[in-house]
Symmetry: C2
Subunit: 523 residues, 2 copies
Amino acid sequence: MSSSCSACRGGEMEVDSNKEEMLQRKKNAVLVDGIILNGPITDSKAGEKFVEEACKIIMEEVIQKAADVTEKVCEWQPPEKLKKLLDLEMRDTGEPHQKLLQLCQDVIRYSVKTNHPRFFNQLYAGIDYYSLVARFITEALNPSVYTYEVSPVFLLVEEAVLKRMIEFIGWKEGDGIFNPGGSVSNMYAMNLARYKYCPEIKEKGLSGLPRLVLFTSEECHYSMNKAASFLGIGTQNVYFIRTDERGKMIPEELEKQVQRARKEGAAPFLVSATAGTTVLGAFDPLDKIADICEKHGLWLHVDASWGGSALMSRKHRKLLHGIHRADSVAWNPHKMLMSGIQCCALLVKDNSDLLKKCYSAKASYLFQQDKFYDVNYDTGDKSIQCSRRPDAFKFWMTWKALGTTGLEQRVNRALVLARYLVEEIKKREGFHLLLEPEYANICFWYIPPSLRKMEKGPEFWDKLHQVAPVIKERMMKKGSMMLGYQPHRGKVNFFRQVVISPQVSREDMDFLLDEIDLLGRDL
Amino acid sequence: MSSSCSACRGGEMEVDSNKEEMLQRKKNAVLVDGIILNGPITDSKAGEKFVEEACKIIMEEVIQKAADVTEKVCEWQPPEKLKKLLDLEMRDTGEPHQKLLQLCQDVIRYSVKTNHPRFFNQLYAGIDYYSLVARFITEALNPSVYTYEVSPVFLLVEEAVLKRMIEFIGWKEGDGIFNPGGSVSNMYAMNLARYKYCPEIKEKGLSGLPRLVLFTSEECHYSMNKAASFLGIGTQNVYFIRTDERGKMIPEELEKQVQRARKEGAAPFLVSATAGTTVLGAFDPLDKIADICEKHGLWLHVDASWGGSALMSRKHRKLLHGIHRADSVAWNPHKMLMSGIQCCALLVKDNSDLLKKCYSAKASYLFQQDKFYDVNYDTGDKSIQCSRRPDAFKFWMTWKALGTTGLEQRVNRALVLARYLVEEIKKREGFHLLLEPEYANICFWYIPPSLRKMEKGPEFWDKLHQVAPVIKERMMKKGSMMLGYQPHRGKVNFFRQVVISPQVSREDMDFLLDEIDLLGRDL
């Protein structure tokens, strides 16, 4: 194998061919089973060159284009066609670097540009250059955060970030762990509340115990159901509490349901309130809910995965009034604060090492007690994972770069832009706001001209239900923007606009409404 | 605020100062609550420049140094001192780019170089240029893998990779999902087995049911205990099966324990065999265990998180003989196949959509059924997560680059190098092999000269127990290499060497033994 071919193909040299030549080049060569053991078989120079060339593509095709509204948000292809456009097959022999770089181009081309200023489809969006750099560093270093000996920096960073998040919640002390998502954070909290309620469950399990019951609003995230089934509690034992017209849990209804559970002989143990619901962006009245939890001795968890970032704003933190009374909080900086997927903390008020007691398994190959440093820094035994990514680092980098005031400005501006959009919706014919938003979710119907005079009867709602999916299809195929829609609790399909990124401007809000009208006026 | 200052500080402009000037520059400016809504407030040019400069640091300080054995594996600092060396504090105001770049340098400097050729501390190591590029692309695109509309490419890639992994297991068909780690994969399997055993548990929970019991070897990963407690089964209901002197589950003991559980009136539902145990690298006899599972109607899960990659080698796949009879398999390409943390698949033989039935929560805001494409591609409802990273893509890129034969060669060479080390250990005075390894874990004691003549009594073992921690401390402080040690099942502290990366050579194996002797000969 010639050296030029090796450089072209890349990272590793073929070892079967030209063994003799390689052997001659090496002193004391050891050959076992036809494999040369001397020296690395990685061609690091070719590998580095490949990384450099790929980084150039990433910079040009992803990062630089993220600021350009004239680029498409997506280049839509249906699944079967996209399979043909991409060379997905994994073969016996590898591909040369030039082919791999083309694959990188294709992957980027057909991927949705979630950092495009007009990607409004989910609860994350935009590009944050600081967290992006942190993520590149993380990937290059490839750490796993369980012991101080392998992740000294990232463990200290996590500790520092958790400490500040705890301050923003308003606790004097606390504990926490970054984990892969709001859903998993909610699972952590549910298990922790159960452990606090009855530590024996860790060893003995739920068999033979009374039925554990938890309470959450009917607007909660679907992960509450997933958690209840995964943890062996059962979805039937999630008691959903009615909400008011704005999507907020009604405290009196919670009180009734707790009493109902007690009467049934069940064991209530947890209330999960939501601060920033997924669809409507509603905030449960935490202070009143905390009163009920106190009265009944229930663990109060707040799923602030989406709304938690309002804590960074002196103006808007009142949305979470009472959160300091929670026992645990889920808060995802990867949403409103743009830390990159995933960056999610579960925070716990308890400071008696409850997290560790609940989760520890004391693996002797990781958590040796005879290490030469303070093994309290080996925090991995608090986790349900073994390998764990250093997600706190991404948030830390952005926080360092913008400062608390910079983060606050982001939240404030997103919410002002949301207000701007609301006012525009109210002004425009054919647009109808579902409810006055509290946060960055703006839910509205677009009513095409053909339906505007129609009586609001079953036929109207049936037709309106079909409008949003068609507009969505058209915007995807055009690639002009991405915006979510859904039916929700008896309401037919409506759009949910989410404002997050500082790249987004008033002009994008105007464009959004113009574009919906353009795409849907013939319906 | 001058534009040069803005460029220096970076991504976002201050909006409070010089509002008038900015307003004049903008037509139709809208100012609400002192916040300008026109145009993006992100300074994208400065942001891009920052990313470019940081990438240069990453290339020079991490990627290029990964190939250099003369660099330190770590620059050890104790926690309290490292806190002072790093500027961890998050302040009200942000830092300028130059300061942030210095922070990046510091983070890299004090982090452990897990891609250094002499990092042998965990079940992952080395640098793979292809998966690294895939990871950079992923971070830049920031996707979440739940619906085809937001992750078209990554969903298809995941499907393609799962299909090939299923082929290597030897199943005709199957299903699967990438998830954050082997521990989580094991949890998925445990819940799936439970669902198969009694689908009602999803809704009703475990309360009132007979005690569910699962079986795994005493050498299994600690995540089995974590999973049992998390899922409400309880750690007492994990029946640990005795292993032979090589760490393999004894099938006759499994049979006995299943019968014991039945006699107790418990409900056995799952056997979790291990293919590649964490410490010893042992492979349970899957074929014999499958016989017992078949006889008793038990779900067979194989935790092949570490050993699964031997399936890529025609020579070594016999270690997993019988794996095709498993109902589910956990397999982490981020370990032996170097895909970057984390890259872990749970694979399921069932093809009746069991994974979806077990895990779905049917969130209407994500999994709308009236989409314009085939919503079977929206696989997110199979997951316990909501946001999920495109981990399959990292493995796919390496597979494309090296081909199946390239991956096979990596596995073969790692295992030949492991054999080389074993033979060297046998030759050298003061080194004692614990057992003949089957895989890439080589477990051995180093016996310093002062202990070599001593009788193998309690005093000897007590003194030997103290040797590895001291050598570990010395190697960390010197930064010459990193290698794990642990006590294990009655055996005093021994070293566990793990061979993975193609960067590693015979010379590194020689160095390892020389270095241990150098660091420990005075003990």
